[in-house]
Subunit: 287 residues, 4 copies
């Protein structure tokens, strides 16, 4: 690895900015999450025409302030990390850069409103802080369960795609362009809106046949929402049971009657009363 | 504690109003819940313009009747409780006061329509009766399961917020203010409406790209509704299994070292190796 | 009981109409379910103005045919049942009567359109046939699980009522009658539509504050849909596990080493090799 | 069976087209799935009026290209399969034929737009590839769980039909044709839209009574969505537990009477009492 030696000052900064063990590191994380969220809220408010007209200048100044703050933070991160290239090329490094680039680009290229939206990717920086606050431990549990049931969910989505295509085509034929089902992509969009039970109502069946087929589709959608729920619940239940079992069972056998003992605190066999081997021990220094 | 001695009359009232063991106490609770609900219904009906025009006077009289009833009840509660300050400052005491204050305030300040809405907080008083009726036992089970999975649900909602922000921005860029996505907060509102499968249809995508991205968002929303369900179900299943196991394992104490033994088949103490009493037995006729 | 002796003919009819063991009885059930469904479909079609204008006469004739059929069936049921009063007063007897009364009443009282709707209660007669086809066995499993979690679900719905009342009032204050939230009952209706994720879109928030509060309500509704699901799933999982355990465990103890044996087919102790007592036996004639 | 001998060339083609073990076979499947999806996308895009006007000729040419490809593939499949009649009459054979017939028919019969939609059934051909990619293994797990809970789900849907019929009729009576509930089928359609929480908003209650009944229906629908979820989750949880248990219990056979022993701790055969081989061992060094 291209890891360099850090000066004591770099090490100090590294612990505060990247670490989470010291109180200073935790305060830094808390401030960072606050600054990120404020900056995201400002971008959102700036997009409201009324507020932009009244407070546009203020929002711009605040935005530049945040950009400078993030720039300084980004520079310090590069300066104090032991593996500079590794940080810059990492996902977090790229997100950190994306958080400040658009504002500078808006100086060079005037009309970059859509580009400025990219600044909202700053919200992804929250993941960094979540990770540090060890909340990602819970997220990892969830992610692991999702990953284990990934193939099942992929199959489920393939079936959903086929189902929505079939229902979309059926309603395109039954209702036709006159009733809002202007083309097959629109009809498939309608089928997804319906089967996921979102139901905007911007495209709705009007004919009796179309309504009957729609109702069937809704009932099917209502029933198959149970499938991903069942998959993930079964996975989470299994994970929880497995975790508990692993905690509970470090079983030993009685050397006399070979009965199984799962309680780590037991000293004597519950079946014959003879002394048990030590739990997890190498059977050494056992009397 | 600032607990005072109660006169026999105060004790009698205390048992009826605060207690639930006596038949009189239960009747009082039942009447209270009926009065609260009637009063809430009256407030609701009074807000309908047509009914307000016809029966406004009647509703006002009924409302004053209820307010007087609640005032008398509040006074008696203060009078008969052994710890007056404790009651007044408690959450229930504050809710009891909020239930009657707005009506009196409307005499002093004429235009207090929004303030009168606060009277609807009376509905929170139902919790008191639910608690007494021991139905909150079931609520506690639910609350405990929710609390244990609280961190997982917090992580889930953080991810939801980030997801809805990203989808909201995407559609703001793709659809633009012309198609109803006037600003980013509106777009995020649309994303929440869509991903939670509510789907009002007040803001809907019109362009093909916007519809394709929306459909993806719906399918994701449809799949991740499985996650909180899975979390809570796994928690409730575990709680139920734990409860059942605790019921099934009838624990005994070793008569020699008083260690706890849960296994019904154990004959000897796992701690000291001496014989155990028989399970479920009266410790008599033990060999 | 007022049970009379049946003539052989009555017994024969009783077996066919009420029973399900004989082939004739099963054919009768199948025909009955077909007639009921056709009659329900006819009532539905007759309500469509266009079809009523063209085929109104035909529908009326068909309806009278069905009514006569049901009348004959009802008469035979009374005639052949051993306990006449019991049948007439039973839930099924009342539903059978309700299925034919409205048509006769329409002769006496001309304008009884709403009354004719009662004929649709015929659909409840399907339950009788489902029961006979032993499909209600599955329904009973579901009903038992629902009943066991009844108190939890009651608490859940009380909380839902309180939650929707609070959200309804909040939006009544925030949006006001100008934006469709004309009165508190309408606002509560909107809150129920929103929190259950139905989302018609007939009443929607317009102000920023209203939308923010609504979005919060949606996310809460999206999360708490997990609660009834969790309750019922945990109950069904427990029921299934209990059923399986009861099937699997009829445990015996080895008379030599008291090891537990759960396999019903085992003849010898797996621990010490001595002969086991017979399963389920009274320990009599055991060698 | 009418199975013929295959020439080596036929066998070679058979392995590539029908098989999935060889690298060539896997490449063929991947190409096939790509071609199918492209062809489906082309049909969808062709239905958009704007694109049809501009690129209609191109789409037609591409469509003919795909049809010829599928025709060649179909011919080769028939030529190389050992059981020609079996393939042609099988479900996959019929779908393969349906994928190319409509395009040829459009030459003979000019106005066959609805018929051309049938080409979209090509999407069903994806199942064949999914099966080959062994992803249908996961689908089979899901299908088995759905099948085992099939009777429960049938009962659930019967109750849903009865419930929606009753709610539909109630709102037809309460709201009447003036408020969009023009006839009972429309009202039942509305009830299905509501209870499945789709909620288009094309038909909505307007009267207070109608809204109150609707709200009740929504809450019921919101609660009973838990039922199919619970059924399938309980089934999947049980399936997973069973699978794990089967994996964990490593069965042995008694060397004397060949009875199966699953308990890892057993020392003696439970059937004949003779000593068992060690679990997981190579039957060597047994004392």
């Amino acid at each position: 690895m291209a890891q360099r030696d850090q000066t004591p000052l770099q090490l100090k900064f590294y612990e505060v900015i990247f670490g989470t063990e010291t109180p200073a590191g935790r305060w830094f994380d808390l401030c960072l999450i606050l600054v990120i969220m404020t900056s995201v809220v400002v971008i959102m408010l700036d997009s409201i025409p009324g507020l932009h007209a009244d407070y546009g200048r203020l929002f711009l100044q605040v935005e530049w302030l945040f950009t400078l703050l993030f720039t300084v933070e980004y520079a310090i991160r590069i300066w104090c990390t032991p593996n500079r290239k590794g940080y810059v090329m990492s996902l977090y490094g790229v997100v950190d850069l994306l958080a400040l680039l658009p504002t500078y680009l808006s100086l060079l290229v005037p009309q970059t409103a859509p580009l400025l939206i990219i600044r909202l990717l700053r919200i992804l920086r929250i993941f960094r802080v979540l990770r540090l606050l060890s909340l990602l431990h819970e997220a990892n549990d969830l992610a692991a369960a999702l990953q284990r049931s990934g193939r099942k969910i992929f199959v489920f989505f393939s079936l959903m795609m086929i189902l929505t295509t079939i229902f979309g085509c059926l309603l395109y034929v039954l209702e036709g362009p006159g009733n809002g089902f202007t083309d097959i992509p629109t009809s498939v969009y309608w089928a997804i809106v319906t089967i996921t039970t979102v139901g905007y109502g911007d495209v709705t069946p009007v004919t009796t046949a179309g309504r009957a087929v729609s109702a069937t589709g809704m009932l099917i959608g209502y029933a198959i929402i149970a499938v991903p729920t069942g998959i993930i619940t079964a996975e989470l239940t299994a994970a929880q049971r497995f975790k508990k079992e692993r905690e509970m069972t470090q079983s030993r056998n009685c050397s006399n009657c070979s009965a199984v003992e799962r309680d780590l605190r037991a000293h004597y066999c519950r079946n014959c009363g003879s002394a048990l081997p030590r739990p997890g021990g190498d059977k050494a220094d056992d009397d």
